[in-house]
């Protein structure tokens, strides 16, 4: 190996660094450090001339390690790596000393800041002189995607990928795709019929040659890595053979069991042999095993003979497991609505005429239990109160965020009431009205013009007075307590992560942000990526959003998911773990701590004997280094973060440079 020759470059960052750190002194200091061949300072190293300076020096001084003392490596590490690459040395022979965010910006005393910068720089040089060139590997990509969730986000993402020309598996846990959007009546602010705009897309999915639809299915295992995921899918038994059922519905009347209709949020009844809703895709019936007398007790079986010709009913169906190989995955698992029983003062669950916004959608929908007449106890409500922010912006239930849709859906629902019951008195209690989207403010204006009363105040309590409900709040604009008597209270419940989201998150090893929604890779710049390469987010699983935002994000996720598929190859992490076979004792500690199952014990011949030795799958390894700290014999090391390199920094930082 050739001699280590380090070049040190110190950035002024205009005055950002220079005003607090004496860069001249620092350069002088750097030039005396071991292995340093040249040390220079420059006003903006990230600029083109700055990078040129480094590139020229690499050639002139035959440098093989570069230290840049500048801003955080989280800013410009890629920039300088590129510069190294174009100058012909390995991009991983770069180390950045953060003397801006960690030094000049946080200290005032020039002398102390300079001394600290010296210390940081010396440690960085110590590590840099031990750096090794690294390589990123390339692996082939299976040109297929998997979309989890068949709501509007999943539907849109699946269609976009399929239209691009790649095969898509669309996995939906319910018997039909459609999701929450299918349950909505009208959509704000345009008042289109939700089902009318959604069903064409659903049938597109059903008919698309590139989409393989797996409804009533859940994923049970995910292995592999970007380009080569292996996903196991459980198809729950629907007791109806999908290929044979033509959706005629002759069987329904023979089914003797009634159960609450999940599509109508249990506001009505359905048979336990049912189709979720008439436009369901696939147009195939399903039997709920929790209600069916045959699946429960092996009796009844009245439906089976009815379908003799098609033979579509199979009460002995078992669950099935399918394994698919895919290159990328889109998570579009959606949301739950907030459970308002957690706000006992609002009386939900206690008073039948306190309902949630989603329940209101079903009541208002022509396909709902009342065929679109808003009725409470068989009567049209004359006084209706809407309450904003139920379960949102509320630390008492752990939801600090704004759910973004409730203001507008409440406005829409208030409008629908006025539309259906023109003489109704409608009061909306709000804290702030957020009408930020395209056409939102206009819609809000329109609704107010319809005579709907908006009162500012967070409702304190709902209680009974005779037959009526009383909504008590302070009208904060009046500074007075008000009590509004009402026939119907609609709670604008917010969105929360799905109750079962942990299962999927754990399978896919996805992290959550503090609001418990899925965490994107970067809140601004990588909003649909996750920390796991090849897995993308769409829709409300990432955070509350309305339909247009969901569709936009779904298309974004689809196009992101198509990038590796169309490139055909992906690059892997270079700073991965590696094993020294001779030191490995085969204990598997590394295997046990690896969050990505990237390490396995493999029989290996060492000095003529076959022994188990850890082996790293460099494609799976994400370079966290947990294995290194777990290894007792120091056999496993993380490239660019080896014990030797980190210890050299520790030793250097301990030293005083008086």
């Amino acid at each position: 190996m050739s001699k280590t020759r380090v070049g040190v470059y110190i950035c002024h960052c205009g005055v950002n660094i220079k005003s607090t750190v004496d860069v001249t002194k620092l350069t002088e200091f750097a030039s005396k450090l071991p292995h340093v061949s040249v040390a220079k300072d420059y006003i903006y190293l990230c600029s083109d001339p700055g990078q040129e300076l480094i590139k020229n020096d690499i050639n002139e001084f035959n440098l093989n390690r570069i230290v840049v003392a500048a801003c955080s490596p989280r800013m410009h590490e890629p920039t300088f790596r590129k510069a190294l690459r174009s100058a012909g040395i390995n991009p991983y022979c770069l180390e950045i000393a953060n003397i801006r965010e960690h030094c000049s910006w946080v200290h005032e005393d020039i002398e102390k800041a300079t001394k600290k910068a010296e210390s940081i720089l010396a440690a960085t040089v110590a590590k840099a002189s031990l750096l090794e060139p690294l390589e990123e590997k390339e692996v082939d990509v299976i040109p297929t995607a998997l979309v989890l969730g068949g709501g509007i986000a999943g539907i849109q993402a699946a269609l976009d990928i399929a239209d691009t020309g790649f095969k898509v598996y669309l996995v939906e846990k319910d018997p039909s795709i459609g999701g929450h959007m299918m349950q909505l009546d009208k959509t704000f602010p345009t008042l289109d019929c939700s089902a009318c705009i959604l069903t064409p897309k659903m049938s597109d999915v059903g008919n698309h040659p590139n989409i393989e639809l797996l409804t009533y299915s859940e994923i049970t295992n995910v292995g592999g890595y970007v380009g080569n995921f292996k996903v196991t899918i459980k198809k729950k038994p629907r007791y109806i053979i999908e290929d044979k059922c033509n959706g005629c519905g002759n069987c329904i009347s023979y089914c003797p069991i009634e159960m609450p209709d999940p599509f109508n949020l249990n506001l009505s009844k359905t048979k336990c042999l049912y189709i979720p809703f008439p436009q369901a895709v696939p147009a195939c019936f399903v039997i709920d095993p929790d209600y069916c007398r045959y699946t429960l007790n092996r009796e009844c079986k009245q439906c089976e003979p009815v379908c003799k010709e098609l033979g579509a009913i199979d009460l002995k169906q078992k669950e099935q497991f399918i394994e698919v190989d895919v290159g990328t995955i889109i998570v579009a698992t959606g949301f739950d609505t907030f459970d308002p029983t957690l706000k006992p003062e609002l009386g939900y669950g206690l008073y039948p005429n306190v309902i949630t916004g989603l329940e209101f959608e079903r009541l208002s929908s022509a396909s709902g239990p009342t065929t679109g007449d808003v009725m409470i106890n068989g009567k049209k409500p004359k006084n209706v109160v809407f309450i904003h922010c139920v379960g949102s912006r509320d630390k008492t239930v752990g939801n600090e965020y704004c759910s973004r849709v409730c203001c507008m859906y409440t406005a829409k629902q208030a409008h629908l009431i006025k539309d259906k019951i023109p003489d109704a008195k409608v009061t909306v209690f709000y804290i702030d009205v957020r009408a930020f989207g395209k056409g939102f403010e206009e819609f809000y204006d329109r609704v107010k013009q319809e005579g709907i009363i908006y009162r500012r105040g967070n409702v304190a309590e709902v209680y009974k007075r005779g037959e009526k409900l009383v909504v008590k709040a302070e009208d904060t604009l009046l500074g007075q307590l008000v009590e509004v008597e009402t026939d119907l209270v609609v709670l604008a419940v917010g969105m929360v992560p799905r109750a079962d989201s942990n299962t999927v998150n754990n399978l896919l090893k996805l992290s959550q942000s503090s609001d418990k929604f899925l965490l994107e890779a970067h809140p601004k710049l990588r909003p649909v990526d996750t920390a796991s390469d090849g897995i993308f987010l769409a829709g409300c699983c990432q955070g509350p959003k309305d339909i247009p935002d969901t569709v936009a994000q779904a298309s974004a996720a689809a196009s992101k998911a198509c990038i590796p598929l169309s490139q055909g190859k992906v690059r892997t992490e270079a700073q991965v773990a590696q094993v020294n076979d001779l030191l490995c004792r085969g204990c598997g500690f590394c295997v046990e701590v690896c969050p990505y199952d990237a390490i396995e014990l493999k029989p290996t011949v060492i000095a003529g004997e076959t022994v188990d030795v850890a082996s790293v799958n460099e494609v799976l390894c994400k370079g966290c280094g947990a294995c290194v700290a777990a290894c007792l014999s120091g056999a496993i090391q993380q490239k660019s973060f080896t014990d030797e390199q980190l210890l050299s920094m520790i030793a250097s930082l301990g030293e005083s440079y008086e």
Binding site: G347, T396, E461, T476, L481
Partner: protein
């Protein structure tokens, strides 16, 4: 800003910054219903926008609050308006600007160790004729509490509880005349200094005995021991928490019937502030022949009786309806003959409401333990 103003801003204003003025606090406030000039949200807003020393110049209305903490538990931004009230009261106490009745209480505390201005020698008056052990000879401390010990009506609670505990074979004792005030109300009146002194005194006293557990009859004492005596290190229970267990373990059985329709009023310091909702109901439901009914507003939604936060000592707005009166009406509405509670302050305020409404023949106020003691043996 002057140093003093800065200090006041730090204590009073800064914790309020997260407030979004949604009005949940005022809407939830039982006092706002009866006292229109008491608007806690508005007070917060004024303080948020005030500068300097005038922060403290906040008024006689401060003494209206019963520290029920409905506003605290419901605030979506985790602001603590009750704490603001207490802090402001403490500023007034420090300045000596307190109503005469409050001043008398604070004086009584410092001289007599109880807020009722009664000699300590009367503290164990209730126990006369009963064989109550000293805590030196027992392992569980029954902390009676000042109001229960001195008020002739409430002494029945102490007697009933002592009888019940003895019946269940619990090895309990009291501090006798050495018991001093727990300080819960004192702290809420703003005298945080006396509270600290009482706390120190009590912990010191408890440490002299190998106490395994403290049982209180008042939710107020319970609350302060449990949540504010952070260095105590002894398990504290309100009596309603132990009785269900005694029933379950068959240490307590009911030989008599109680053929009445009973409803239950949740004391703020038991329910809202310490989430003890089920245990008192469990006790009532296990009493033979007792017909238990619920009022419309129960549990988290229960209405405060106005007995806390020093309000036992201050009469306010004689013209207004008391919340206790509203509460008694609600109990009558659900058909109850007995309105049970588990707090001495609630008992007094509700009984006052019954008397002033001349409803004695329609409804009776009882502490749960009084009912229990009637059906054992």
């Amino acid at each position: 800003m002057s140093e003093e103003a800065e200090r006041l801003a730090y204590i009073l204003r800064d914790p309020l910054f997260p407030c979004i003025q949604c009005g949940k606090c005022t809407g939830s406030c039982p006092i706002s219903v009866i006292s229109p000039h008491f608007n806690i949200r508005k007070l917060l807003y004024e303080i948020l926008n005030s500068e300097g020393e005038d922060i403290a110049q906040k008024k006689e209305m401060l003494w209206d609050c019963s520290t029920c903490t409905t506003c605290v538990v419901r605030c979506p931004k985790e602001v603590d308006p009750a704490d603001l009230i207490i802090s402001m009261r403490s500023v007034l106490v420090e300045d000596g600007q307190v109503p005469p009745k409050i001043r008398d209480v604070l004086k009584s505390i410092s001289i007599r160790g109880n807020p009722w201005n009664i000699g300590q020698e009367k503290r164990s008056e209730w126990a006369e004729g009963l064989e109550i052990k000293s805590i030196a000879d027992a392992e569980i401390l029954y902390y009676v509490g000042c109001t229960v010990a001195f008020d002739p009506r409430l002494q029945k609670i102490a007697k009933a509880l002592a009888k019940t505990l003895a019946k269940a074979g619990i090895n309990f004792g009291t501090l006798g005349n050495d018991e001093v005030c727990c300080g819960n109300e004192i702290r809420r009146m703003g005298d945080i200094w006396s509270f600290d002194a009482l706390k120190e005194m009590n912990i010191e006293m408890f440490k002299q005995f190998p106490i395994k557990q403290i049982i209180t009859s008042s939710p107020h004492c319970y609350n302060t021991f449990k949540n504010e005596y952070t260095e105590l290190g002894i398990e504290v229970k309100h009596y309603t928490q132990i009785i269900p267990d005694l029933i379950k373990k068959k240490k307590l059985s009911f030989s008599k019937k109680f053929e009445k329709t009973v409803t239950y009023h949740d004391p703020c310091f038991l329910g809202r502030q310490n989430q003890i909702f089920d245990e008192p109901r469990d006790i009532l439901k296990s009493i033979p022949s007792l017909n238990f009914v619920e009022m419309d507003r129960t549990r988290e939604r229960a209405l405060c009786c106005e007995g806390g936060g020093g309000r036992m000592w201050i009469e306010a707005y004689e013209t207004m309806e008391r919340t206790a009166t509203i509460r008694v009406k609600e109990a009558l509405d659900c058909g109850a003959e007995i309105l049970a509670t588990a707090c001495p302050f609630c008992l007094l305020t509700l009984e006052d409401a019954v008397k002033s409404g001349e409803l004695e023949d329609k409804i009776q106020i009882l502490d749960i333990v009084e009912i229990v003691s009637q059906v054992i043996d």
